[in-house]
Symmetry: C2
Subunit: 164 residues, 2 copies
């Protein structure tokens, strides 16, 4: 898919079928995240991929709005180290999600509100935290995507030289 088209048509989607994700697609998705740049190439991001359903349910219990993890086929925990920013987590996550969409896979970011709970479920070492978990799966065709996701008007979103 064309990059611009993939980027602007990607929608956060919470409903997935049970169809498995191919190893090839998963590898490309993870590679897309791995190639996200970082300041001084410090690479402060790591991924923990969860596919075991029971393990995913454990992880889901660490977030307050983690419903998308129920039907998800895989969850990618985007972890950030001591030198990393959530900005880095966001860069890597967006690469993951656009690359997934390019593979026909839907995704939705899930926040882990109870940090220690999430860190324990994934066994993260000292200093590492979960920036976000990306729920992923083949989109459920019975649930229409919000293709007209409304955005604030262009003039409000984009400003020139100064805020006003």
């Amino acid at each position: 898919m064309d990059a611009y088209k993939a980027i602007i048509s990607k929608r956060d989607t919470r409903s997935y079928t049970e169809e498995p994700i191919s190893e090839e697609s998963l590898r490309r998705v993870l590679q897309a995240g791995r190639m996200a740049g970082s300041s001084k190439n410090r690479q402060p991001v790591r991924f923990v991929v969860v596919r075991d359903k029971e393990h995913m349910a454990e992880l889901a219990r660490c977030g307050d709005f983690s419903e998308p993890l129920g039907p998800a086929t895989a969850a990618i925990a985007v972890c950030v180290g001591p030198e990393g920013l959530d900005f880095d987590g966001g860069r890597a996550s967006q690469n993951v999600m656009v690359a997934a969409w390019n593979e026909g896979l839907a995704t939705c970011p899930v926040r882990i509100h109870h940090e220690d709970c999430g860190r324990e479920v994934l066994g993260l070492p000292e200093g590492w935290r979960i920036s976000m978990v990306i729920a992923m799966g083949h989109p459920d065709p019975r649930v229409p995507m919000s293709l007209n996701a409304k955005r604030r008007p262009w003039e409000e979103y984009v400003r020139w030289e100064r805020w006003e």
Copy 2:
């Protein structure tokens, strides 16, 4: 350009020519950022685009490593509101940077370490902050891109079910 190819070949690049950015390219780049998803579609991100060279120099003085803003043709300040996370800034920024690369434009994130300084230069309202500034321009062909940007080994970067 294919989405996967655009994502994995994008490199943060600090050297630009003086060739102007077309309005059409700039519009697509900004639209890509605007279409980044956000929790509950809150849209906590705004862009302030700086193209005036003197204004860009003022902004550069608010960051400790802002050299890329010197030769940049445009700077996109990715601003985040009271309800926003730097994660949201990262998502929008990555869309901007991959879409820019798809237009043949190079980019580099620039951090604004002196927050009040940056907020004043852009006239941001209370509660809004600069998550990152994206320096942008046509890549200088005399400066080779680090196409072999080394990444940590796959096994270190991607883990399965638990950290180890």
